[in-house]
């Protein structure tokens, strides 16, 4: 018997029993829907976190004193007692990490206050003392003017590049370029404006300014740990550059072999990796729940197939009387079970996608379904149909033709 015939049969069996089939499929629908919706949510969340924490440029990692995510509070002392990372460390990395293209040093103050004429900002401006690599290594761009140059740093010129929020606050009606703003009583000439970045986790990323590195240390002293940003020469070299950097840093800071690093390497993957770690368990639980519901659904399918086999005993007898072999009948009912559960899978996928779309539309999470989950869902459904369809199909296939024909 040709496969297409079997397939048509399966569909017509479904059509003649729509309501019953749909009810049976509820379990599969819910199971698949759960998996798909869950996946799309997690994938969307991950994507959104990824976008928000992509504070570094591509192929860039950063050496810093404190870890990006600090879990245990008791660890805090351990980190605080670490030696500060210094400009000399940055120079050593720049000199000796051959796999790096650009090595920058940056130092931060998270509560600067700026003035221009009679206007002033809140004392919450993120102030960075930077080298020219800052711009690219942090994935930033200049909207107007220019960025701080090597010359600015070497000659320690009092220039600054400001973010969009600062522009809004201090220069609502003026062009900021060429104007002097005041920081701790010192004048800095605005030479450039950062491209607007938007907010991450509800916090604006545009209320920042950059000044040359040594301008910063002159204002705030040298007793501050700096961050070293390293851009690998190519994406493929990120790992080599990381290893080299760790080596250089350990030598710089005289970390003995066998002792763990007394500094942290941070990259865009650090946070997503952390997220993956948490969501791993969410995924496992979701898959477990879905599996149980698919199991229940499978039993439902077995039940409905057994009913269907009994109801269609005469049909089986007729088919056998005109020459259907055991395998013909077996496949007919097996394919019917598989098509039935795949139909449930399809509906579940559609609903799951719908939930994803809804979340996408109503929340900031860009929910998206990875294609593989759709295929996996379908394959899983076929598997459920196959496993739970075998017994009823065998029962049908083994019927004696004359007994089946006589069945009332």
């Amino acid at each position: 018997m040709v496969l297409t015939d079997t397939f048509h049969l399966a569909l017509s069996a479904f059509r003649s029993n729509k309501m019953r089939s749909l009810l049976t499929l509820l379990g599969i629908i819910i199971g698949v829907m759960t998996i798909i919706a869950m996946q799309s949510l997690i994938t969307g969340l991950r994507k959104s976190i990824n976008e928000q924490v992509s504070s570094l440029g591509s192929s860039v990692f950063q050496v810093q004193k404190f870890p990006a995510i600090n879990m245990g509070p008791h660890d805090h002392d351990k980190y605080r007692n670490r030696k500060d990372i210094t400009y000399a460390d940055a120079l050593a990395v720049r000199e000796r990490v051959t796999a790096a293209k650009a090595v920058g040093a940056e130092v931060w103050n998270w509560g600067a206050e700026l003035r221009y004429k009679d206007r002033k900002t809140l004392p919450n401006i993120q102030l960075a003392g930077v080298t020219p690599e800052f711009l690219e290594n942090n994935g930033l761009e200049i909207a107007e003017g220019r960025f701080i140059t090597a010359e600015d740093v070497d000659l320690n010129v009092a220039v600054t590049v400001i973010g969009a929020d600062v522009v809004d606050k201090l220069f609502p009606f003026e062009d900021p370029l060429g104007k002097d703003i005041k920081l701790m009583g010192r004048r800095f000439e605005v030479v450039g404006i950062f491209e607007k970045k938007g907010s991450a986790f509800g916090q604006s990323q545009d209320n920042r300014i950059a000044i040359p590195f040594f301008q910063f240390t002159r204002l705030y002293g040298k007793e501050r740990s700096i961050n070293i940003t390293v851009q690998a020469a190519t994406p493929a070299l990120v790992e080599t550059a990381t290893e080299q950097t760790i080596g250089v840093m350990r030598t710089q800071r005289k970390v003995k072999p066998g002792i763990e690093n007394d500094f942290e390497i941070y990259s865009n993957e650090t946070i997503t990796g952390f997220f993956d770690n948490i969501t791993k368990y969410v995924r496992i639980v979701a898959i477990a729940i879905a599996s149980i519901s698919l199991l229940v659904a499978g039993v439902g399918i077995m039940n409905i197939m057994l009913v269907s086999v009994t109801e269609r005993t005469r049909e089986i007898g007729i088919r056998k009387s005109v020459g259907a072999k055991r395998s013909d009948i077996l496949w007919q009912f097996l394919i019917e079970a598989i098509v039935l559960s795949e139909l449930g899978g399809l509906i579940g996928i559609m609903l799951g996608l719908g939930i994803g779309k809804l979340v996408d539309a109503l929340t900031p999470i860009p929910a998206a379904v990875p294609v593989w989950t759709v295929f996996l869902g379908l394959i899983f459904c076929s598997f459920v149909g196959l496993v739970f369809g075998v017994y009823p199909a065998l029962k049908a296939a083994r019927m004696d033709p004359i007994t089946a024909l006589r069945y009332e």
Binding site: M1, V2, D5, S12, S16, R314, E315, G317, I318, R319, K320, S321, V322, G323, A324, K325, R326, S327, D328, P401, I402, L405
Partner: protein, 226 residues
């Protein structure tokens, strides 16, 4: 010799009770014979037909069909025999209720791998033969009893089987419709088909060349008609 039955017995067991339905049937059928099987109710006519039609297997005895020993065949081999060698017409038609006349007639060919196009053409021809060219797309419940039986006959002959078996094919029909069905069988016989049919009506049996009378699971009389 097309069919050779030797000492065919069929015993049904209901619980511990043994019901002998056939008690040593010997029967030879030649090609292009037209046989009517008669006998009182419960005499074993249907049991015999089902065994000849390979729907059922005898408890003992040998059955040779076209020199093949059917009694030793397994399920799948029997299915193949039913498909190729036998066309069965039942008293209750036994059509698939949700399928069109055309599809019902195509059914035997679905199980022997005839390609869809050829299948359709042969089914149409068979339906034309029984005078149902204009009812091909009707479902059984949209057809009269006589028309349903014609569909069943078309299905029985579509694979050009060696033998057509009919168990009381007119039993559910009025006498005029019964006559029309009998005309079809007569036509098939004239075209060279071998036919065995069961009937209670003498006037229907008279269409045949040979009447076999059963009683209590045995052949009581076997006579030629002219």
């Amino acid at each position: 010799m097309l069919i050779k039955l030797e000492k065919i017995e069929k015993i049904y067991e209901i619980g511990t009770v043994q019901v002998p339905a056939l008690r040593g049937i010997n029967l030879n059928v030649e090609k292009n014979e037209y046989i009517a099987i008669m006998g009182p109710s419960g005499s074993g006519k249907s049991t015999l037909m089902n065994i000849i039609g390979c729907l059922d297997t005898p408890s003992s005895g040998d059955y040779l069909l076209n020199q093949h020993n059917v009694s030793t065949m397994d399920d799948d081999q029997l299915a193949e025999i039913r498909n190729r060698e036998i066309g069965f017409v039942f008293q209750t038609f036994n059509l698939l209720p949700r399928a069109s006349a055309l599809h019902n007639v195509e059914l035997p060919m679905i199980y022997n791998g005839t390609p869809a196009a050829g299948r359709r053409k042969m089914a149409e021809e068979a339906l034309e033969k029984v005078g149902l060219a204009d009812r091909m797309h009707h479902k059984p419940n949209e057809l009269s009893g006589g028309q349903r039986q014609r569909v069943a006959i078309a299905r029985a002959l579509v694979n050009r089987p060696s033998i057509i078996l009919a168990d009381e094919p007119t039993g559910n029909l009025d006498s005029r419709t019964g006559d029309e069905i009998m005309e079809i069988f007569e036509g098939l016989h004239e075209q060279g088909n071998t036919i065995i049919l069961v009937t209670h009506e003498e006037y229907i049996a008279e269409h045949s060349n040979r009447i076999i009378r059963l009683r209590d699971g045995m052949v009581e009389r076997d006579e030629s008609v002219h």
